[in-house]
């Protein structure tokens, strides 16, 4: 697996595509700015949402149990999964009991986190992703590169080529409307035929036992309303206490994600319709571990709007796949090390700590500060490359001893020409600073 920096270098090698990717996402960020700045109460909304989430996380157990009781009373089957394996086994059992071999699924980053599609494929069950972007990447056997815009790394030409191969559209046709219609017809067949539909969950309300799924394409509704069995998969952090809280989050979510005033479909699911089975799977998968650490607990406030992706100058220029995790971008970089420190030790370093992420975040997660904390924890866990550990210790020693610092500084200036070498990553595309004859301190002594 390539590290973030290696994968980014490959991405950037196509400068034109990188510029296009950067500009496309910057456009989304600008739309978000516009949608947030027309609300004089925007910062108050962020603060309110942040406090609701803080309160919920502080009482998470109680709210989850309250939700379970209400949902059960509404006729929904509630399942608890400690990790991805349990989650997948629960989902599989429900499908197997029903007897389906093919089903539809709307967007759910949680099922990506659990690699549910691969798991079910091994059991002989085909999952048809019905979000347009997800279907495109699924055809291409790729992972989503963005949690809201899964195929944002692809251009319409790429989609035309993919649909030609998988849906038989005419070669060379890259007309978005035509291609969308082809996908619509293709998916319609699956909606009508599927007896099981899986959806994600944006919010689950403890007060009422209902859950809310937000989509712009209506694909969650098409799947869930036609299927005999609806399985909703959610992380335990998606709970909110009351229906009244929902209004705040729906406003923040759509404006932060795409600059829309409201998501096209915010569908409430209370209870199964006559003859339907409804299941909800509540997943932990490391979330309670994150909750127990005061440094990182706050990351569970995330509502998956991806505003931090769109604003991140690194993400925009490196693409989602460079993060080698289902959730990329700044938020992914603080969530992933909790699942696997070693595999994700590069991610908290894929940032300049510019702080833009923390300031667009609609629920005020201190993302850039958590990146900093993860850096400390990962290095303390011995995950630094050996050269880096030695270099850092040497630097720390030098900077702790003024006489050695002065000697080192003067040697560095005198021989700075040696750094004009291919071995110096700075020098690859940048000149070294011109070394002055005297340091400031040397000048000052003579003043």
């Amino acid at each position: 697996m390539l590290s973030h920096s290696e994968a980014s270098e490959n991405f950037i090698a196509d400068a034109e595509r990188t510029d296009w990717h950067d500009e496309t996402l910057w456009f989304v960020r600008a739309k978000r700015d516009k949608a947030s700045k027309v609300l004089p109460e925007w910062e108050a909304l962020r603060e309110h949402a942040s406090q609701v989430k803080d309160h919920t996380l502080a009482n998470l157990g109680e709210y989850l149990v309250a939700f379970e009781a209400k949902a059960n009373a509404n006729g929904i089957h509630v399942h608890w999964a400690a990790d991805a394996a349990e989650h997948n086994a629960i989902v599989h059992k429900i499908i197997a009991d029903q007897g389906s071999k093919i089903l539809v699924k709307s967007k759910s980053m949680l099922t990506e986190e659990c690699h549910l599609n691969d798991y079910l494929a091994e059991k002989g069950i085909e999952v048809v992703d019905t979000d347009l972007g997800e279907r495109i990447v699924q055809f291409r056997n790729e992972a989503p590169s963005h949690i809201v815009l899964p195929a944002i790394h692809l251009k319409k030409e790429d989609v035309g080529e993919t649909f030609h191969k998988h849906l038989g559209t005419p070669k060379g046709n890259k007309d978005p409307q035509f291609l969308t219609e082809a996908a619509r017809q293709h998916l319609r067949g699956h909606f009508l035929a599927s007896e099981v539909a899986i959806t994600g969950v944006n919010f689950a309300i403890a007060e009422t036992g209902e859950f809310v799924v937000c989509t712009n394409e209506g694909n969650a509704d098409m799947g869930a309303h036609l299927a005999k069995v609806h399985i909703a998969c959610m992380g335990i952090e998606k709970i909110i206490p009351k229906r009244a809280d929902l209004a705040v989050f729906l406003r923040l979510l759509a404006r932060s994600a795409t600059g829309q005033l409201i998501t096209t479909y915010s569908s409430h699911f209370h209870k199964p319709r006559e003859g339907q089975e409804m299941h909800i799977v509540l997943l932990d998968n490391g979330r309670t571990r994150q909750l127990a650490d005061p440094k990182y607990k706050n990351s569970l406030k995330c509502i998956r709007c991806a505003a931090c992706f769109n604003t991140c100058p690194v993400y925009r220029r490196s693409g989602g796949h460079s993060y080698h995790q289902p959730v990329a971008g700044p938020i992914g970089s603080i969530l992933a090390p909790n699942i696997d420190k070693k595999a994700n030790a590069d991610l908290p370093f894929a940032s300049t700590l510019c702080g833009s992420c923390s300031n667009v975040c609609p629920v005020k997660i201190n993302i850039h500060e958590q990146l900093w904390f993860w850096r400390q924890d990962l290095m303390a866990a011995g995950l630094a490359p050996i050269g880096k550990s030695i270099g850092m210790k040497l630097m720390a020693y030098t900077l702790a001893h003024p006489a050695i610092y002065r000697l080192g500084g003067s040697l560095l200036r005198r021989f700075s020409g040696l750094l004009n070498s291919g071995l110096n990553p700075w020098y690859k595309q940048r000149e070294m600073p011109q070394a002055p004859k005297e340091s400031f301190q040397e000048w000052y002594k003579k003043r």
Binding site: A350, C354, S356, M379, A380, A384, K428
Partner: protein, 237 residues
């Protein structure tokens, strides 16, 4: 007013003119400026690389040099932010100021005898801007303000222009500039492109590290655009 001048290590070694300008400017404004001569570094290079646990000696040296002062002033938003957020001594954390912040909030400078008849593009360094709140930021719904622009408005002849994306990061990012070389350089190139489109003579900012990174790219490109720290302009006769 008695002020200790904090000169970040890389400014001491590679950009002494920034420290000279800081010293002269503070003196012009009536401060008694002391330069502790055994100072080295704020510790940020190690800490941001995940080795905050190794900065004990560096932190102790900083404390030794600066603990006697109520005002510690440095020409680097990033180093100052690091000290404010992470230095173990509360006295140090509460006494350290970025120089534009100090000029604006403590000295309340309302006039300068500086002239700089050039067109300059302002670079908002992230740690100064979002960390120290030297200016408002585009992410938030807040009233626009800028301590840097206010100070530049006191200089005769200078024309300040903002890049299209007015507060995007330049990509320096400490050791990020070498560990994530490709992204770092691309970010820097993109910033420079916007400033060049404004036909500026100089890119100006309050953080020499960002300027060093952009200068490296400008010089490699053979560009005529130069970089200057804001104090060099505020102190320019």
């Amino acid at each position: 007013m008695r002020v200790a001048l904090f000169v970040p290590c890389y400014i001491d070694q590679f950009y002494p003119q920034v420290a000279v300008a800081s010293l002269e400017l503070l003196e012009k404004l009536g401060c008694e400026v002391i330069v502790p001569t055994d100072q080295t570094c704020c510790g940020q290079p190690m800490a941001n690389s995940g080795f905050a646990s190794s900065t004990e000696g560096c932190d102790a040296n900083f404390t030794q040099n600066f603990e006697g002062f109520d005002y510690i002033v440095g020409p680097s938003g990033s180093c100052v932010l690091h000290l404010k957020e992470h230095h173990p001594s509360e006295k140090i954390r509460n006494s350290v100021y970025e120089i534009c912040e100090f000029l604006t909030d403590v000295l309340k400078v309302s006039a300068l005898s500086a002239t700089f008849p050039h067109r300059v593009g302002l670079h908002q360094s992230c740690h100064g801007q979002r960390g120290l709140r030297l200016s408002s930021m585009s992410e938030r719904n807040e009233k626009p303000y800028s301590k840097l622009e206010d100070l530049l408005s006191l200089v005769n002849g200078v024309e300040v222009v903002m890049p299209e994306r007015e507060d995007e990061c330049c990509g320096f990012g400490g050791t990020f500039c070498v560990t994530e070389e490709a992204v770092s350089v691309k970010m820097g190139q993109d910033r420079i492109k916007e400033h060049a489109a404004n036909a500026v003579d100089y890119i100006v900012g309050a953080d020499t590290s960002c300027l060093m990174h952009m200068e490296g790219i400008l010089r490699r490109q053979g560009s005529k655009v130069q970089v200057k720290h804001i104090v060099e302009i505020l102190n320019h006769a």
